[in-house]
Each structure stands twice: as C-alpha cells, then as structure tokens.
Amino acid sequence: MPAIRTEALTKDYSTGFWRPRPSRALENLTLEIAPGEIFGFLGPNGAGKTTTLKLLMQLIFPTSGRAEILGRPVGDVGVKRRLGYLPENPYFYDNLTAEELLVYYARVFGHHGSEAARRAGELLDLVGIGGERALQLRKFSKGMLQRIGLAQALLNDPDVVFLDEPMSGLDPLGRRDVRELILRLRERGCTVFFSSHILSDAESLCSRVAILSAGRLIATGTVSELLAFGVGGWELVMTNLAAATVARLGLRIARATEIAEGHYALELPIDAAPDGLLRELTAAGAALVSLNPIRPTLEDVFIKKVGGARERATFHHGAHRDHREKT
C-alpha cells in the first residue's frame, strides 16, 4: 500500500469577485509515494505545490480526482493521528508561549497533563528553541516560527510528514538542522513529502522527486534518473595560455572563460575527448590546472524542463496562461 496516492487530482480556484472565473491551479496530478520515501515536490513559485499539500490535508476540496493517505481518503480523522503537516509560512496564536502552544496540540493528540508538557519540551529541544519556550509567539522571528511549525508537525511521531517549503525563512544553520531532521525521520522509516523551490535541498535528501510547473507534473523519478537527462561535458582549466590559441580552438570548445591573464576555463562538449586537446595545448606551452567532468545539477534539469513546459504551454494555449505564473 502506498503511503500517499493521488489520482487525477485537479483544483480550480474561482477568482474575481463580481464575475468569478475558474483558474486552474493543479491539473490531473497522479502520484504514488511508497512508505519510507523522502519525496521532493519541486517547482517554481505558483506551480501548485501548496495547493497539492492543502488538498492532501483536506484544507481545500478538489475540483475532481481523489487522494489517499495510508490507504484512507484524505481528511480521515483516524489517519490524521499518524500525520504531521508544516504549512507554508506557519502562523500560530500570538498570545501563547511556544510551550503553551505545543502543550495545547499535545493535548489535542490525547496526551495528558505532565506527559503533554514533557512531549512539548522534548520537541522544542529537538528543533533548537528550548531556550525560548516561555516566550510569547508574537515575539518570534520567521525562522523561529518555522521551527515551531516543525515541532508541532512531529509532535505525534508521525508516519507521514508533509512539509511545505521547510527551509524557507531559515538561515544556513537552520537549513542544515532541517536536513538532519529529515534524515533522522528517514532512518525512523517515516515518509516525508516536502515541497521546495530550492533544488539543492532536494538533491541531497530525496529518494525521488517530482517537478511541477503551472499545475502540471512535468517530470518524476529518482534524482539520478532526472540527472541522466542533463548535458554533461568537461571543464578544463589551464594557465599560460595565449588568447590566440584559445581563439583558434573555435567550435571544439563550448565556451571559454578568461579567469585571469592567460588563465582560462574551457568547457568541452561531452563527446570531445579531453586528452587530445590537453596534449595540444600543453605542446603550445600551456600548463594544466584542473580537469573535471561537468555534472548537471537538478537545477539544470529543472530550468530545462520548466522552461520547455512553459514554451509548450505558451505555444498551445497562447500567452494568456502566463499571468498565472507569479515568479
């Protein structure tokens, strides 16, 4: 049984007060996520990531299609016992302290008195704000609220966790903490579904990713599968190289960048064997600094795929679609 399953999930928002028109935020999303997977849900701003997560938490209802979590339809109160959810830009109650908030949620989960307090304390320590437990939430910075959001999502040792942009608002240390937290969840066998527009997060964490653009799924697979699409090549850095020599290389190199006087970074296409060129250039008096393969990053794939999808969308549906994509 998959941990999360969606079937042709579609959502239209109606926009415009006087003459409401439906605007499609998500179209025919079909996904299946196995238990224990760390699933990265990627896409530019406005792609429909938050919409998907809200559909999975039944904060909004689908226009058509359906979704299941742990084999039960979304919104099932019994299944919610085993879920955690961090909304995008989480917000809580201004007048409560961090500890009071978590105690409240722990009690909603059915923990009693001292047990609820103990659980709340543990989680505040886990997300690194144990020192601020008695501070009112109105005094919390965005990053601290994000940490509280994580704490409340993990309060019940969930089996499936949904995180909407978990790294947003965090400093580099905070991002590292979140990465470690997700890895620890993976060790525990927890399924993690997280959305992000920051690709490096996904690259180091995810077993599988999906790329969404303008409400449509445009790619899905393991990170290495997606990277196999990318363009490879070589980067050859040489010093003591004359400008004239570089100019003579012409189309044999994809690009030449002068780093310093006589110091060049040359990009070679994947099919050009670098050793021949290296020998030639050394013979011309240049010296090798480094030679590295160019690996495509998820970002390259992303830009290529999203860019391609946008062009096709514009081609098929005309430019009027573009107003939806706030970037």
Binding site: L59, K80, R81, Y91, N95, L96
Partner: protein, 268 residues
C-alpha cells in the same frame, strides 16, 4: 469529546490573554464610581439606579464580548491560517466549530458571573451603609435573587448572539460578521413590532414578509426582563423556561448551520 473540550479551553485562554479582562476592570470601575456619586446624592433611588445601570452594562459588555471576541477568535483562526495546524491534528471540522462555540460560551459565562458578582458586591455595600428608613423606601431588596434571573437571561441571549456571530464568521469577513451580528441584535429587539406589521400596512405581501421575518429572525425581547426585575414585578417561571427553550432550539439550528458551512468550505 476530549478534543472539543481542549479547543474550548483554548478559546477561553486566548480570550483571557486578549482584552476581555480590561473590559471587566472598566465595568467594575464604572460601577464603583457611579455608586460613589449616587451615595453622595442620596435620593432613595440609588439601589434601583445601580441595578438598572449594572444590568445594562452587563448586557452591553457581554454583547461586546460576544461580537468582538467571538468573531475575532473564529475568523482570526481562519484568516491567519492557524486553522491549518489545528485541522492537521486528529480533529474534525465539526469539533472545531463546537469547541469554538463552547469556549466562547464559557468565556461569556465567566465574564458575566464576574460582573454580576461585582454588582451584588456594590449592592451589598449600599445595603450595609444605608439607614433602615432609607431601606424601607426601596421597591425591591438590595440583594434581590431576581437579579440572577435577569442576568441569567442576559447570558442566554448572548449565547444566542454568539451563535449568530459564529455562523457569520464561518463564511464572511470579521467586519461584515460584526455588522451583521450587531444588525440582528438591534432587529431582534424590535422584532415584536414585525408581528403587528399587518395592522399598520395594507399591502398583503409586505404583511406576509413581515410575518415570515418575525418567525425567522431571533426574538430577543423574550430575554429582556431587566425592567421587571428592577421594579420588582414578578417574572413568571413559564416565561423563563420558554425563553430558554426558544434559545436552545435557535442555537442548535445556528450551530448546525455553522458546522454545515465549515465542513464544506475551502481554507484558501
């Protein structure tokens, strides 16, 4: 129902952290200051005036709590999106609505109790310092138990107003909810006039409409026994029982309507 209780207690806690205690302090200070002034005047009417003022203030501050705190706490939860976190817990939408409503009613109950206790306190002071000759001129005893009936019905009326506020805040903005609730409060107090509308207007459709509105809109005059109590008229038990029964039925319909709307809406 553990979850409902937790949500209700949370509402109460939030209202305490909000501005509710200040309104109570304001009420107490107002009452004390007025009674001090009246003590200076010694007109023999002071107990009546204090009761009048005390009950009117209880009702007004209660209305303030019901409308502003009630709407505030519900629509803030939706507008600021803390509802996302709450609904991701093992909580149904129905439980959220019930918890919110019961929490608001609890808030009202506690606040009204404090105000009534303050009122009795001031009256006890007057009873203590007044001459027997002055006491003889009072229409009703200073510590009249009938005040409990009047304030009890104020509480029931405000529980109904809170349910109205709840319905509105499940689908409209806080400002509009407040305006609609306040509007219905006013209309509810003049509702009885709609019943007599057919005697004033000739047009039959208008008369029917007035009659329909009379049955549809809340009849809040049922709960207003302030004048009777202050002047020492007897309030029949049947009137109290039927007012409470009417409120219970009305509240049940309103809460069910709130649940119906809340269970279907998108939290965008």
């Amino acid at each position: 129902m553990r979850v409902v209780r937790e949500i209700a207690l949370h509402v109460f806690k939030e209202s305490v952290r909000d501005r509710v205690p200040y309104t109570l302090v304001f009420f107490a200070v107002l009452l004390m200051a007025t009674s001090y002034l009246l003590g200076q005047l010694t007109a023999g009417q002071e107990v009546k005036i204090i009761k009048d003022l005390g009950l009117a203030a209880t009702s007004l501050i209660g209305l303030f709590i019901a409308i502003f705190i009630g709407i505030g706490l519900v629509s803030k939860e939706v507008e600021r999106r803390s509802i996302y976190n709450l609904l991701s817990k093992p909580v149904s939408r129905r439980q959220v609505v019930l918890g919110k409503y019961l929490g608001l009613v609890l808030t009202l109950l506690v606040n009204i109790s404090v105000m009534v206790a303050a009122l009795y306190g001031v009256l006890a002071y007057f009873w203590f310092v007044s001459d027997p000759s002055v006491k003889a001129g009072w229409e009703t005893p200073a510590l009249d138990p009938a005040l409990m009936v009047a304030s009890g019905l104020i509480f029931v009326e405000l529980a109904l107003i809170t349910a109205l506020a709840l319905v509105f805040s499940t689908f409209s903005s806080p400002l509009l909810s407040a305006a609609l609730t306040f509007g219905l409060f006013i209309v509810g107090h003049f509702n009885a006039d709609l019943k007599r509308f057919d005697q004033i207007v000739a047009s039959r459709p208008v008369a029917y409409l007035a009659r329909a509105l009379y049955y549809l809109l809340p009849n809040l005059t049922l709960f207003d026994v302030k004048a009777e109590v202050v002047h020492g008229y007897h309030v029949p038990a049947t009137a109290v029982v039927s007012a409470v029964g009417y409120a219970a039925a009305y509240i049940a319909v309103l809460v069910a309507t709130s649940v119906f709307i809340f269970e279907r809406r998108d939290f965008k």
